[in-house]
Symmetry: D2
Subunit: 344 residues, 4 copies
């Protein structure tokens, strides 16, 4: 049994990793850590885990020492050092934070206000979107798990960018996220009476997922892509829905575009391209590792409208990280991830 | 005391009219009608109205006979005949349905599957967006109250269209609406377990508010305007938030655009242009007649992002209808509409 | 115009006072204060108040100096000193906190961990439940506004206790409250993802409203009454629903009990005794000053079941405080409080 | 592989059976049926099942013919005939409806307005609460799966009734249920704008789960037990929370009662007795087969307060039915049911 560890296990993403890994057949959680709750058992913090796990929160050193593969679910700036230690000890690190997502240090500095602290290890990392980088993931000691918004957006746009079907200057992305995206930390914005019965656009043009999105879309298009991106906070727990608008270069035939998507994702277990006439929604993917994509056409304006939906905590975070773990460990890619989204 | 009547008083819009009119100081509700509940008292249908109103639901004829001004809150196709009767008896008709919103009969036929039944009276009607047509409203016997989505969109775009600041081919509108917009009728989509914890894009490119939006925006721009419009169903009761993307022709200076908006709406009691840095949201307008507008800039892409928020049942329906009533009756425009949006 | 002030204006209760008082015809808000936001304008804190009020938050001294009547909406322990200053300057103080609710200092010490700091002024205060103490309220310089749970419970039980219809040892109270009851302060319990899709019983047998409830019920019954009381946190913004179980002494005829309630509250503008067969719910009272009461019978077990519903922020806090203000100032009791609960 | 079938697969309970059974390791779904959707594939009705199941809905005959064990998830009155057919063909029937829950035909007639249609097969059925009847379930050809409210209540009261610790005349049950309990059928009560931001007591003293609760509690207590029961509709999708009040006969020592519960449920995989000081809530059990129970004491009134929480669709319906299936088929009781409740 392969041993895995979680550093930052009491945040929402860390919790979700633990929840999914507990039922995984090929790996075993060796140790978990938490800066805030060291010395406490996980079920004393999360009552839902009663009778399921009473692992004690230790510290990063113990987690690394006892694990073959380490997940880091930490605020940005804390994972580089841990990844370096993993490298030294020949262990794999899957980072669910932002430290390894951006390739360009200057861009990182601009958005995060600091330089890379371990620049020499960055070239060893891979951007962990399996549908894009599966082969590289197999052999990378450091895997940068994608952000939640970027996952929903990059999967939605990959086929049209790769096939050069759209004007890359025309992309407008209107995303809506559930509140777990903001994590376990308290804020006025996620205080129930102020979040409930509302929808709030936020960080317009300032969200740190924007450079990540642009980096990957540019890579896909093989040209620099700049997008307009507005995230919104929804009064739901889970899920991201991205409504993406772009101008088609030639065809206005949505059926043709649909075929390209169907072929493109034919072998992908976790991407579902919906039939024409159906519309992606959070409801059909929540609590699962699926990304649903639907295609729509505004013929009059030559606009292709792509709707994509994921569960931000699963395909947008912990589920995708475990998918990456399965790939790098040579396990069946879907192991532990066969959740069927409940209808309600 | 001026006597007013409500035809279609048991739907959500009809109920909201009754609720607001009950506290109006200058008019009195004479009669109300309902096709489904004729002979029943309104508080037997709406328990919230207990001790407040026990008006009996009668029929349209009695409402017209006893009123100086009649509100119609009916499915499309039912108001033209009533409006004609009002005209004959020299009474004003404010229609909250779709019958008089579209000027072009062909366009109406295309979207509603039928012709005008009383084409001769259409030229007597005015589109009741006070900020656009206040003077015409004063003297019109038939007022077509705008749709909820159109209200949020037209107010948001009026200044840039009038001042020709944007590329009219670039407009993308991503709107999100609360569930009361779908009315009191039951549907799987608004069944609690299927609507809750979801967001659902719907009727993409097919929503009947699209021709209305395009008609009014074209009028404002003095050129034909086609927009991309995607409505979404939100798991909240009230409110519409529209996030609107458009390309600025020249300036990228959001401050300059902001000044234009401030000047434009300076004297409008129910439009609030937020300071730069603030963001419009449903929370700050619900249960009020306000339309909040905030302006944001994606400099990199020369995109102006306009966010507007209204309460779909107030400024988007009953409140605006009463604002129109006040105008046509020569009453203070804000009478009965001084609701302060609650913070929660 | 009578001048009123609000001390603690940026908490939820303070905000609600300001919102309602702004439209009051007979009083004017002179000054408001806030410990946390001194020097800031209220609309910079509450965006909903944009264009409505830009009062600056000052300090308690200035509020008292400029007002004829002062509302205190503060954590317990802070109002006694303010009330004393009001007394000295011959001003009325309506306290929405807990400082004057309990008559018995020992009981207060037990539940709040401190003694009265100004015991000599307590005899001058009255418990401000208008339906119980209207005459005393008219002449009291200090009015202790009831807690939200107590209001919903005391109004529900007053007729059966006064008329000695029930076994006073049999009372079980299961109350459910919206999240605004917990105020604006942040907590894990009211963090959206943890509060949403849940119902949480809390402070079982330990809620500070229990001694208040027992004090007033004992007064009504003219004998010591001890109740079992379990509050629950609901995933809604507003409202309290109390389901109250008690054993009838003799009659099992719910019609007879219903008549007693109807007579009892006949002249009360803000208490609605529903017809038999109807059930009270939050929906029908929210955003209003009403308390709805419905009566039900479990004949087999001789249990009378009383359901009562209020809006915790209106009849359970700010609305009732303004009702008390109207009484003590000799204004029409309903002035400023004619809110019609919206159906949605 | 054992073959199972679902009759009534498109209702919420039927869907939930299908969702859970799809990942079950020891059984295979042979056929499903639906009266409303015969001839349609299940993923055309439930979009969440896209890529997961495209079983066609057939009819009951085909389901019975192709299955070793049949689940019936039907409105009352339709399962007896199916169960008889299963018996004839030597197949097991697990009924998730009400047809076999009540032993007493007279009681059944009183609450359901009709007699048993197949009285001779009723003696062959068992009430499928595993914690109560595990041994009988092993050999019963017809298993009456308990109602959702009854499950939450019976598990909560079994230890105190068996051990005769409480006054059986003192039981008051205040239950709160999510909206999926009302099923997929549309109603004004579960229309989003009317259900949201509300809590609604309903069917007070008239709910059809009452005779079932009383039958089982009486069996546990070995004496006739009548309870006061008030169900409430909550604005959440899933879950039932029951707050149960009863008078202790002797001890007021909650620790002692707690020990009895701990011992009682020590070997039960799906019942979690929380530590003293913790409180059961829907949040910690949703999407799982757990029943959480917490114990609280109102010493002053000698009241024991028991709080129990289940997911109404899992332990309250489909999960428990599959637990029963595992028992009757001799499979590990927890197979397919190892869901870890997500924290959010």
């Amino acid at each position: 049994m392969i041993k895995v560890g979680i550093i930052g296990s009491t945040g929402y993403v860390g919790h979700e990793l633990l929840r999914i890994l507990t039922n995984h057949k090929k790996v075993k959680i060796a140790q978990i850590s938490s800066y805030s709750y060291e010395g406490q058992s996980i079920d004393s913090i999360y009552g839902n885990l009663n009778k399921i796990s009473s692992l004690m929160c230790t510290n990063p050193e113990k987690v690394i020492a006892s694990s073959d593969l380490v997940f880091t679910a930490l605020p940005h700036g804390l994972s580089e050092e841990i990844a370096e230690k993993c490298l030294e000890k020949d262990k794999i690190c899957i980072d669910l934070g932002a430290d390894f997502r951006l390739k360009d240090e200057e861009e990182y500095s601009k958005w995060y206000g600091k330089n890379f602290s371990k620049p020499h290890i960055h070239p060893l990392s891979v951007y962990g979107l399996p549908e894009l980088n599966r082969e590289k993931i197999r052999t990378s000691p450091i895997i940068a798990n994608p952000g939640c918004y970027p996952t929903s957006i990059e999967l939605a746009l990959m086929p049209v960018l790769r096939e050069k079907l759209i004007d890359t200057k025309s992309i407008v992305i209107d995303s809506k996220s559930g509140t777990t995206g903001a994590g376990r930390g308290l804020s006025q914005t996620t205080h129930f009476p102020e979040c409930n019965e509302n929808i709030l656009p936020y960080k317009i043009g300032e969200h740190r997922h924007l450079p990540e999105i642009q980096q990957i879309l540019s890579e896909m298009a093989n040209t620099s892509v700049k997008v307009t991106f507005v995230p919104h906070l929804l009064p739901v727990n889970r899920g991201i829905l991205s409504t993406i608008y772009c101008t088609l270069n030639e065809t206005k035939d949505v059926g043709k575009v649909h075929n390209i998507y169907k072929n493109y994702y034919e072998k992908e277990a976790f991407v579902r391209v919906l039939e024409i006439g159906k519309t992606a929604s959070i409801r059909n993917v929540k609590y699962s590792n699926f990304c649903d994509i639907s295609l729509h056409m505004d013929v009059e304006n030559s606009k292709l409208i792509i709707v994509s939906a994921i569960d931000n905590m699963v395909k947008g975070a912990a589920g995708q990280a475990i998918q990456n773990m399965n790939i790098v460990l040579g396990i069946d890619e879907g192991e532990g991830l066969n959740f069927i989204p409940p209808a309600f």
